[in-house]
Symmetry: C2
Subunit: 288 residues, 2 copies
């Protein structure tokens, strides 16, 4: 990442924006404590020993610390049964002192993720993956929605990117980014195309995009000849080679044509976590 | 509509296909009665005096009669309160002899439709509008889903239209057709573009579509110069002028270029109703 990127007017600086969001959350958390004696809290569950999962949860706990949210963790062994996990979720659902619940994905193969998501109280659904919240998203009631696309929407709004009537291309059609992202954009009256690994002519779509949002995990999938001048590029992809982290966009070259672009790291990642903080705050505010 | 359209190989004959579906439903209904003494039943609710609503519900009741599903109706006065309506929904939820519940839309303005949909038992949600069912659709678990897009999927499959990797354009982004339709197509790995009234260059999208699905209610919005040779056209629109009914597609001209096309009437409409019958059957089967 280039030095001094914060001052590059082309860069959507996810770190700065997430600091701003966290600062807003922090003062609202303080207000909840002072006025209502409510301290927002997040309970996280990790099953098994996946180092990436542990790292992500650690980042989330650190964010909680920064904004004054209480974070408690539950590390369960790899051989935890689905019933045991659901039992824990139910006990967290029933605890008044817990406002947000987050089950870190992926879960071990013997556990059905969607069955577990379904058991989280929709009002404590910090990640926005409960079907009821997903369905409300689809019909335009965005309450708790997946954090990555929500963070991206926040960035687009913050950087005054016009959505209504714009031509947006989303690359990737996952349940956690692509499909909810497309839905949020449709709810705001963008024209939305969703491409993915089955798309026969990706270039034909991307070259016409006013806004291009990529979440595939394929290193540098998007080259500069695939975008038009002035495009806004959001890179929600991440892949690792050794210690190096890459996005889905060939940043240095695509940046030449883009009017705005997110770096990796320091773009979408921090926004996802800041959005999670907003969700836990909202869950706690619902208790007033 | 031309005489003898059933024999035109370009026509997706919604009436014939819906008869086939209803015949399958009918024999399964009989089986449920014979083996389990369960007679599937649908309870419909209309609030107010909208003639179109009454007509649609009548068509649904007739379909129930054809397949052996018991249909009961509830006609409530225009000044029914939201609480009264929800009370009726709750009473139907708790009745073991009712398997499907359908609240005909639109509801009077003083009633929040989404709040009412939310109160229907998701397992009796014949229309597939409950947020939980919508959310399951979004994450790829299609159980009870909106009947019009589901009926369209059935037609595409029946006519062996390849979905995976195809370029599909959906025109219209409503909660009942456009958004769930796009989601179903993404779940089947089509590349999907969703256009609507805010789209600045509709033609640029439609000319590249392998499959074009239109649900806007704008008479003859789609002209033949907007489609490519060989396109599959699905017209889910309907508008009325006097006694005449029009689709969203300039049928006679577009048909010249299409490889398959649905007429209006006799295309998507009957498929919607046949899908509703499948849903009521499925709700009853879940009781076994």
């Amino acid at each position: 990442m280039p030095e001094g990127q914060n001052y590059d007017p082309k860069i959507i600086d996810g770190r700065s924006l997430s600091k701003k969001i966290e600062s807003e959350v922090s003062s609202k958390v303080q207000n909840l404590k002072d006025r209502y004696n409510i301290t927002p809290s997040l309970s996280t569950i990790v099953v098994g020993d996946d180092p990436a999962s542990k790292m992500y949860v650690k980042l989330k706990h650190k964010a909680c610390d920064r904004v004054g949210i209480i974070a408690e963790d539950h590390f369960l062994s790899e051989d935890t049964t689905q019933d045991e996990l659901i039992e824990l979720v139910h006990s967290l659902n029933s605890r008044d002192d817990i406002h947000g619940i987050l089950v870190q994905l992926p879960l071990p193969e013997h556990i059905n993720e969607q069955k577990v998501m379904m058991e989280i109280d929709p009002l404590k659904d910090a990640d926005g993956f409960h079907p009821q919240n997903m369905g409300n998203l689809l019909i335009g009631n965005e309450e708790f929605v997946p954090c990555t696309p929500k963070g991206i929407m926040t960035a687009l709004e913050e950087y005054d990117v016009g959505i209504e009537g714009s031509d947006v291309v989303v690359v990737g059609h996952s349940n956690v980014v692509g499909k909810p992202m497309a839905t949020m954009l449709l709810n705001r009256n963008a024209t939305v195309s969703v491409c993915h690994v089955y798309t026969s002519n990706l270039n034909r779509y991307t070259v016409n995009a006013d806004i291009l949002i990529v979440a595939t995990g394929v290193k540098h999938l998007i080259k500069s000849d695939m975008v038009k001048e002035g495009v806004v590029v959001i890179d929600a992809g991440i892949s690792k080679e050794g210690d190096k982290v890459y996005g889905d966009v060939d940043f240095d070259n695509v940046k030449q044509k883009a009017s705005l672009i997110t770096p990796v790291p320091g773009g979408v990642g921090p926004l996802t976590i800041a959005t999670l903080m907003q969700h836990v705050l909202k869950s706690a505010q619902n208790k007033i």
